[in-house]
């Protein structure tokens, strides 16, 4: 079938599902899944074929002809939108059902369809004006999804912050597309590498898309929005929506000429995001905030790969640039799969216990075995450990950077520190997810709510299983996914030779399979041993204390304490401590809080100054008619004197 027909069918079913979503949950789900499958097939046809799909219609919107295109790069992202869009819809069917949320469930369904549809449009539109329209409607759909549970104050605050940050980015994009159109004479987008004068516009695009992608200093809206949104929305935001920012950066770094410093800046931003993102993640006590900060880290990994590729393109080293970029693009898929899986897991825990605070959970593996298993798979993947998929893409990025170091070009100076920071980020990611997994699922329940948890139903388990299977597939047979990634890389830089499957990828696939088999075998061996010998249960050694309680387990703060100390210069942990005093101390406590440093130390004070200035200015607007007329006279006199002065030579 032709991709155009499929995309049309997909768009039609999404429009229909927006209409149906208000009333009919089942019909909405069916229509959404139809749309998702149609979109997915269109993307796969383009990715696995050799030709791009283009549709230049005679339809005019806003004075511009509608022009759609699906090439390798946009198809790669469209696959992600479709997979997570479908999985989240199934998940929401139980997680945000009519029974629990009678008013917001229908709204949630409609905005969900709107979100997936507008993201699809963002990916296919190749006209600057229409891109902005689609981009804005995507941001607004996301806003309404984040604030589905708007009775809660924190949710509303997070929604406003998201909306404000998102629009700050959109302003930059308006400037970007408008100046692009002014300089090229057309709103139509496409490869413009030979217009050297367009290079500075890249900075505008980097800022505008960087806000959406959550690159380090621009990530300040992300933890609040992703933590306070309903979990299926957090999943689509973290796994897909921020990738739209990545898409923008990748797309326009491929189409526009690059300023000389672009590659260096992107790789530096990526390395900073990776390291600081995961440092912030490690310090969190809220599992969804942890996952959100971890997204900042993963965006950093992708940016490192992209920055490496940009350096390679600038200095003519196609081979390692290709590796770095394909690692980055594969990581887009990988992160989409495991982050959605993790957010679904966290949502499952939230659904069962009513809390996101890890220090109130514990011991859930007994009551929620499925969720535990799925979360474990996601955690191993996100930590970049073999034999799961996070390792594959990060390894490709590493390989690209290592080749850059070996080639001893100027890029080595960027690649070397990036490798070190990536490695540190990887170690901290492992620590973060050890903490999250251990606090939530292992040990014994810290509160009544955690003890009374229950496993989630099949509508929530099914998407988790699908995503976990996808993670395993991406991990064990990465060769299968290579053609798609190679095609996307080729769409980024057409001058690079079409790449065969790199040997490293083949060998890493084999190693992963071997490791996975070994792990499965070890598990079976262990189970067998346990069955035959039986388990001996005993208390954890507790210094012979007579009355151990669940609260004596590691808490989030104690687990992360040392690392938080290393990063105290940026994390700025705050806490109230009351130490035990005297021989028989009665009360002692420590309340810790890890603020969002960029938000509270930079954005906060700056916006307070702006608010103060606006307040002062608003005193001019007091409602006194006479004074208003005086303003008019003053303005007239001022204008008159300007004209007078300008008139006299």
């Amino acid at each position: 079938m032709n991709p155009g027909t499929l995309l049309l069918a997909s768009a039609a079913s999404f429009v229909a599902s927006i209409v149906a979503g208000n009333r009919y949950a089942r019909a909405w789900l069916t229509l959404t899944l139809t749309g998702v499958f149609a979109g997915l097939s269109a993307a796969l046809i383009v990715l696995l074929g050799t030709t791009d799909w283009e549709w230049r219609s005679t339809l005019i919107v806003g004075g511009q002809l509608v022009f759609l295109r699906l090439d390798g790069l946009s198809a790669l992202f469209l696959v992600l939108v479709s997979v997570v869009g479908g999985a989240g819809a199934v998940y929401a069917h139980e997680y945000w059902s009519e029974d629990d949320y009678p008013t917001s469930a229908p709204r949630g369904r409609m905005w969900w369809s709107g979100l997936v549809l507008s993201m699809g449009l963002v990916l296919t539109i190749v006209n600057g004006l229409h891109f902005l329209i689609a981009w804005e409607s995507f941001a607004i759909c996301a806003y309404f999804l984040i604030t589905l549970d708007r009775q809660r104050r924190a949710v509303r605050a997070a929604g406003w912050l998201y909306l404000a940050a998102s629009h700050a980015g959109t302003v930059a994009l308006f400037a970007f597309f408008a100046s692009l159109a002014a300089r090229t004479g057309s709103w139509e987008l496409g490869p413009l590498r030979d217009h050297a004068s367009l290079a500075p516009l890249f900075w505008l695009a980097l800022f505008g898309f960087g806000v959406k992608a959550g690159v380090f200093p621009l990530h300040f809206w992300l933890p609040d929005a992703h933590a306070n949104a309903p979990s299926h929305v957090s999943a689509v935001m973290s796994a897909v929506a921020i990738k739209m920012g990545i898409y923008g950066i990748v797309r326009f770094s491929g189409w526009l000429p690059m300023p000389a410093a672009a590659g260096w800046v992107v790789i530096a931003l990526g390395a900073t995001s990776a390291l600081l993102g995961i440092a912030f993640a490690f310090a969190q006590d809220d599992v969804k905030r942890l996952l959100a900060y971890c997204s900042v880290e993963n965006v950093g990994v992708i940016m490192i790969g992209l920055g490496g590729a940009m350096l390679a393109a600038a200095h003519g080293h196609a081979s390692w640039g290709l590796l770095a970029l394909s690692g980055a693009l594969l990581h887009v898929w990988n992160h989409g799969a495991f982050k959605a899986l993790l957010f679904f897991g966290a949502g499952s825990v939230l659904h069962a216990t009513g809390t996101r605070t890890m220090s109130r959970l514990g011991g859930l593996w007994r009551t929620m075995p499925w969720t535990t298993g799925m979360f474990a798979i996601g955690a191993v993947a996100v930590s970049g450990l073999p034999p799961l998929n996070g390792f594959v893409s990060e390894w490709l990025v590493y390989l690209g950077l290592l080749d850059a170091v070996v080639s001893k070009g100027p890029a080595a100076w960027a690649a070397m520190p990036a490798i070190i920071m990536l490695a540190m980020a990887g170690a901290l990611a492992l620590a973060s997810f050890t903490k999250a997994g251990a606090l939530i699922f292992l040990g014994s329940p810290r509160t009544q709510a955690a003890a009374a948890a229950h496993e989630s139903g099949r509508w929530m388990r099914l998407p988790m299983l699908t995503l976990a299977a996808l993670c395993i597939a991406l991990a064990l047979v990465p060769v299968l996914f290579w053609p798609a990634v190679a095609r996307a890389v080729n769409a980024w830089d057409t001058s690079w030779p079409p790449a065969a499957v790199p040997n490293s990828l083949t060998s890493i696939g084999r190693t992963q399979v071997a490791l996975a088999l070994a792990a499965v075998a070890a598990t079976f061996l262990l189970l067998h041993k346990v069955r035959t010998n039986g388990l001996r249960r005993g208390l954890t050694w507790d210094c012979a204390y007579a009355a151990p309680t669940a609260h004596m387990q590691y808490s989030s703060g104690s687990f992360a304490g040392i690392v938080v100390g290393w990063f105290a210069w940026i994390l700025r942990p705050q806490g109230i401590v009351r130490r035990p005093r005297g021989l028989l101390p009665l009360k002692a406590f420590r309340i810790g809080h890890n603020p969002e440093t960029v938000l509270e130390l930079v954005i906060g004070p700056v916006s307070r100054v702006i608010v103060q200035a606006s307040r002062t200015a608003s005193r001019l607007q007091h409602g006194n008619l006479q004074a208003y007329i005086l303003y008019v006279i003053a303005a007239l006199v001022a204008l008159g004197s300007v004209a007078w002065l300008a008139g006299t030579p």
């Binding site: 409602g623 008619l625 006479q626 007329i629």
Partner: protein
């Protein structure tokens, strides 16, 4: 011809000062209406041979500004049964001083403007500027809505004086349109005055600050 026109404009400038100095609404309205009639006569004196269209404009202006608008204002004043005091923001003496200074400034400014030679000796331009300034002073310095309407009308008189410079080239329709605008404006303000009175039990525009956000 210029002498009689200048005489009338001079009268109008004097009426500006009377309007600034009057402490009761009826006298303010009267000053304004007399000024309107005077201005209505001016076009008749400017032309050597009388064109019937110019005569029509003059007649309409005189009736509109001298009879209809003041009548509307008096009716509004009665209907809203407001006190007759002007209740100034800027006191009468400061208003008069400002008005006088404004008149002097207007004459000085008119000297500096690049005018056509035929208008150079005329008082039309200084009179226009002085009336505009007086209108502004009344608008800013008085708190009752009716006195502000008067201020607005005097301001409009100034603009009309300015327009007389171009009477040969301005089509009749524009003149008539301006007059109609003013009448409708006053009519609307009459209604608004009534509503302000009902809502606030007073015509003091200072109380409108309660409406701001």
């Amino acid at each position: 011809m210029n002498i009689s026109v200048n005489l009338l404009v001079g009268f109008a400038m004097g009426l500006n000062l009377i309007a600034l100095g009057s402490n009761r609404l009826p006298s303010l309205i009267r000053a304004m209406s007399v000024q309107g009639v005077l201005l209505g006569i001016i076009p008749l004196l400017m032309e050597k041979e009388l064109d019937w269209r110019v005569a029509l404009v003059a007649l309409a202006t005189a009736i509109g500004k001298g009879v209809v608008i003041p009548g509307l204002l008096r009716r509004a004043m009665r209907a809203a049964s407001i006190e007759r005091e002007v209740d100034p923001f800027i006191g009468f003496v400061p208003s008069l001083l400002l008005g006088a200074a404004g008149t002097v400034a207007a004459v000085a400014l008119a000297q500096g403007l690049p005018l056509l030679p035929e208008h150079a000796g005329s008082l039309l331009v200084p009179g226009a500027l002085a009336s505009v300034l007086t209108g502004f002073i009344l608008l800013v310095g008085r708190s009752k809505a009716i006195s502000q309407v008067c201020g607005y009308l005097i301001l409009e008189n100034g603009i009309y004086l300015f327009g007389l410079l171009l009477i040969k080239t301005t089509p009749l329709l524009v003149e008539a349109g301006v007059l109609l605008d003013v009448t409708v404006g006053v009519f609307v303000i009459g209604i608004i005055v009534d509503h302000i009175q009902r809502a606030f039990d007073s015509l003091d525009t200072r109380k409108l600050t309660a409406l701001r956000e």
